[in-house]
């Protein structure tokens, strides 16, 4: 699922009028060698030697070809354009169409197509107007730079060449995909007058609370005639079945986009390119948040989004499929802007909302935020989005990672000890995330039943 955005790295079309055609080194070498061999043959009076130079000389001097014997140098450059509005691609693929429009007189077009995190592909095609489908595979989400094409036309026999024409495709916004989850934890205190969950209030619902004598305000259809006949055969008192009202839950997804680290430690400094076939922590956070949001919206609950990496208004909680689309866009756009300052207070979330924090827990800030939310009564679920880190070869990196990992493990242990559920999302643990969420929901249900029984 993608959408196109602006073109900050160049235009999607190459201007054919700007190109300049030049005589190629091949023509100069052919001319020089041909004249040399021909002259040598003439000097020594050997026609066979001179003949060796005829074909290269002819090839260097003649700019025509059969059908266009006196063809001149093309008057314009090769028109190159990238059309990103291609057909729907498979999941994990981005597609586009490279449109080539060579000038008359061009014999070949050489195109080199590159993309960040990919090896460059080169192709030489005959100079006819045509479309070449382009594809690249990536598991990354969010704003993505895609194709860059350098194309160059060659005249007859490669004797002339135009200056390369460079074209960059517009950036694409790759929305995160969602993994199906059954049930996810919701807050114990629900809000609203309707919704998918049973609240503790009396009202319209399915779950029976008790049988009570009829009172003003009770609806007639609520009268339980069997109970009335058993308890009051003379019908002096009518009995009604009272039920719990339904309500909806509110959840806020807080994405810690301050870190965007991959499995390769060497890229953590932000200098090396990250592989496109390995999700980074931010990709995992987007995927996890999209999955939780999908499960909540499917259950009829309200979901909001906040981003620790940028100071902007959070997406307020709402329900519905259209809002889920807004949530996915907000998640795809979540990325750090500059170097985010340390927050003095936790982002405010609506009352009675459960907070899902998606973080790598590489520093102490998530710990402080979780404590602040829990102090005001918000249940918090921490989703650990650090990818499975590969061991580094360099000794200093190994040492640094050992220290960092020990600190991180200590933070996670402290959170678990404080009663914060931690769900790991990277690697094989992601497959067990649905079971982990279900276990949390069941544990919460047991806890509620125990509390009601105690009352």
């Amino acid at each position: 699922m993608t959408s196109s955005s602006g073109t900050p790295h160049g235009g999607p079309t190459g201007s054919p009028g700007d190109a300049v055609w030049r005589r190629s080194p091949q023509a100069a070498a052919g001319l020089g060698a041909g004249v040399l061999v021909l002259g040598l043959g003439l000097l020594v009076g050997r026609a066979d030697v001179a003949l060796l130079g005829v074909a290269p000389l002819l090839g260097a001097l003649w700019a025509g070809r059969p059908g266009a014997w006196r063809s001149a140098t093309p008057g314009r450059g090769t028109g190159v354009a990238i059309d990103p509005t291609a057909d729907a691609a498979a999941p994990g693929e981005l597609t586009a169409v490279l449109r080539l429009d060579p000038a008359p007189g061009t014999e070949l077009v050489h195109a080199r197509v590159s993309a960040p995190g990919h090896r460059t592909a080169g192709i030489v095609v005959a100079a006819t107007p045509r479309d070449l489908p382009l594809t690249l595979s990536t598991v990354r989400t969010g704003p993505q730079r895609t194709f860059h094409v350098d194309a160059r036309g060659y005249g007859a026999g490669g004797t002339t060449a135009e200056d390369p024409v460079s074209v960059t495709a517009p950036d694409r916004l790759v929305l995160p995909t969602a993994m199906p989850l059954q049930r996810v934890p919701v807050p114990r205190r629900l809000r609203g007058l309707t919704g998918p969950h049973t609240s503790r209030r009396l009202g319209d619902g399915d779950e029976l609370r008790d049988v009570h004598p009829f009172a003003p305000g009770d609806r007639l259809r609520r009268i339980d005639w069997r109970t009335t006949a058993r308890r009051s055969p003379d019908l002096s008192t009518l009995y009604v079945r009272r039920t719990y009202a339904t309500a909806e839950a509110t959840a806020v997804l807080v994405v810690d986009s301050r870190d965007d680290v991959g499995p390769d430690l060497r890229t953590w400094r932000g200098t090396g390119p990250q592989r496109v076939d390995e999700p980074t922590s931010l990709d995992l956070a987007r995927h996890a948040a999209a999955s939780v949001a999908g499960a909540l919206v499917a259950a009829g609950d309200r979901v909001g989004v906040d981003d620790l990496g940028r100071r902007r208004r959070p997406l307020p909680p709402a329900a519905g499929r259209r809002h889920l689309r807004r949530v996915l866009h907000a998640l795809a756009l979540s990325s750090p802007v500059g170097h985010p300052d340390r927050r003095l207070r936790a982002p405010q979330v609506p009352a009675d909302a459960v907070v899902y924090l998606f973080s790598t827990v590489l520093d102490d800030e998530p710990l402080a935020l979780v404590r602040a939310w829990r102090a005001v009564g918000h249940p918090v679920v921490l989703v650990d989005t650090l990818p499975d880190v590969r061991g580094a070869r360099e000794e200093h990196m190994r040492l640094a990672w050992r220290v960092t990992r020990a600190e991180r493990d200590d933070r996670l242990r402290r959170m678990t000890a404080e009663g914060v559920p931690v769900v790991r999302w990277a690697g094989d643990a992601r497959q067990e995330a649905a079971l982990r969420f279900e276990a949390l929901v069941r544990a919460d249900e047991r806890h509620r039943r125990g509390a009601v029984g105690a009352r």
Partner: protein, 195 residues
């Protein structure tokens, strides 16, 4: 700090295969294609064949021919392009000077097309990297021109063969005039801009 070749190769290998797999390649869908390394291999073989075949027509010592062929072939393999292609052509011409079949060695009727093929393969090898692809239709697009060039050269060769061994002073004068015309053409076009 200058890194050694071994360190560079190791860094390249690690950057490429650190995860046990290379980076994915951008997909470009086209017709039937030929990989670029085939063109490079064909160029190296053609260069060696031209120099050795021309050397076989002479009375030069074999070691010298092998030396010429080896140097030019290695050059063609390491840095393919118009340089080794045309040097191989000039080397073949120099070797042909020592042919025992003077004044006209009929072998030039197949050596000349081979020389032209070497120059064309030199162009392809220098412009197409080993991992790149060439659509077969691109070869067919330029084939007719190459056939015309070779046919014209062979027609000139056939005429020269017919006149070989005779004194034709006007032909020498014509050749000198043609050389002057070529030189003028080359000088006139030497401003770098194609016309």
């Amino acid at each position: 700090m200058t890194r050694s070749l071994r360190a560079r190769v190791r860094a390249w290998w690690l950057s490429r295969y650190e995860t046990g797999r290379p980076l994915p390649v951008v997909g470009v869908r086209a017709g039937r294609r030929l990989p670029g390394w085939v063109l490079r291999a064909a160029f190296v073989v053609a260069v060696a064949a031209l120099v050795v075949a021309a050397g076989a027509r002479t009375d030069l010592i074999v070691e010298l021919v092998v030396l010429f062929a080896g140097v030019v072939t290695v050059w063609a393999a390491v840095r393919p392009g118009p340089g080794p292609a045309h040097v191989a052509l000039v080397t073949a011409a120099l070797e042909l000077l020592g042919s025992a079949a003077a004044p006209f060695d009929p072998a030039v009727l197949w050596l000349a097309p081979l020389g032209y093929v070497v120059t064309r393969l030199g162009w392809w090898a220098s412009h197409v990297a080993a991992t790149e692809r060439v659509e077969l239709a691109a070869f067919r697009h330029g084939l007719a021109r190459d056939v015309v060039v070779v046919a014209a050269a062979l027609a000139v060769g056939a005429s020269a063969w017919a006149l070989a061994g005779r004194q034709v002073p006007w032909l020498v004068a014509l050749g000198v005039a043609a050389m002057a015309a070529l030189a003028w053409t080359a000088v006139r076009r030497d401003d770098g801009e194609a016309r």
